[in-house]
Amino acid sequence: MSYFASIESLFYLAATVAVVASLKVVTGNNTVHALLYLVVSLLAVAVCFYLMGAPFAAGLEVIVYAGAILVLFVFAVLMFGLGKDETQHAPQNSGISNMFGAMFLAFALLIELVVIINNAQIQQSLQVKVISSKSVGIMLYGPYLLAVEIASFLLLAGLLAGYHYAKPESQGSQR
């Protein structure tokens, strides 16, 4: 087993990807590019989760964060119409060079995932310390039941607030 293929090295690689991607999110000028970097960052964090023995969390990270929340962001960006904010002052370069960073990072992650899946030893050592989604579920509906209820209320509140603020003013009662 090579040094490269150990869990540790894979983790540090994923962590580096996450940090670099996050930096690009924060420093970027183009909104869509920043969103893409954010996706990469989240995916890298998901890989970290997986390597830390939390496959359920990793799956949620991909599905909810990278899937649902980021889609919301994209919709919002679509609604605002680009080119009005900081992108206005940024150099309007487009094409493959602009996307290179994100592509590179995503590619690194991809390789990493393939390595993990392929390597039986890693799979085996991961199996030992994994925390199953079953135990998480038991915890959620056992001691944390109240927290879950509160979270559901929070979501409801978020739903209502989102609806209220985002609806056209003509429908609102005020003015």
Binding site: S6, I7, E8, Y12, A15, A18, V19, S22, V25, V26, T31, A34, L38, S41, V45, C48, F49, L51, M52, G53, A54, F56, A57, L60, E61, V64, Y65, A68, I69, L72, F73, F75, A76, M79, F80, K84, D85, S125, V128, K129, I131, S135, V136, M139, L140, Y144, A147, V148, A151, L154, A157, G158, L159, A161, G162, Y163, H164, Y165, A166, E169
Partner: protein, 102 residues
């Protein structure tokens, strides 16, 4: 068996958190601020998962799920507010929201 030391996980978490915080404070575009907030929340999730894995407890993941919920709600409200702001000011510059002063 090998395990990633908790210390390193927490360093990663802190790094992400700091980056996110820098973004929140430094950016003027409110959309970027929201994204940076996501990074920060994510960093907290990393810390929880790492700790849960280090002690082999499911609580860390439970907390992560709760944070996830929080993030979802926050994004929903935050984006709705952004839409509102865009309608009112035709801009996403957070410095336009400066009416809240003593």
């Amino acid at each position: 068996m090998t395990a990633i030391p908790l210390f390193h996980v927490l360093v990663l978490s802190s790094l992400l958190f700091t980056i996110g915080f820098t973004g929140v404070v430094a950016r003027k575009n409110t959309l970027f601020i929201l994204m940076s907030l996501e990074v920060m929340l994510n960093a907290v999730g990393v810390a929880f998962i790492g700790a849960g894995s280090a002690w082999q407890q499911a609580d860390g993941q439970v907390m992560f799920i709760l944070i996830l919920t929080l993030a979802a709600a926050e994004v929903a409200v935050g984006l709705a507010l952004l839409i509102r702001m865009q309608k009112k000011y035709r801009s996403l510059d957070i410095d336009l929201l400066n009416k809240m002063k003593g």
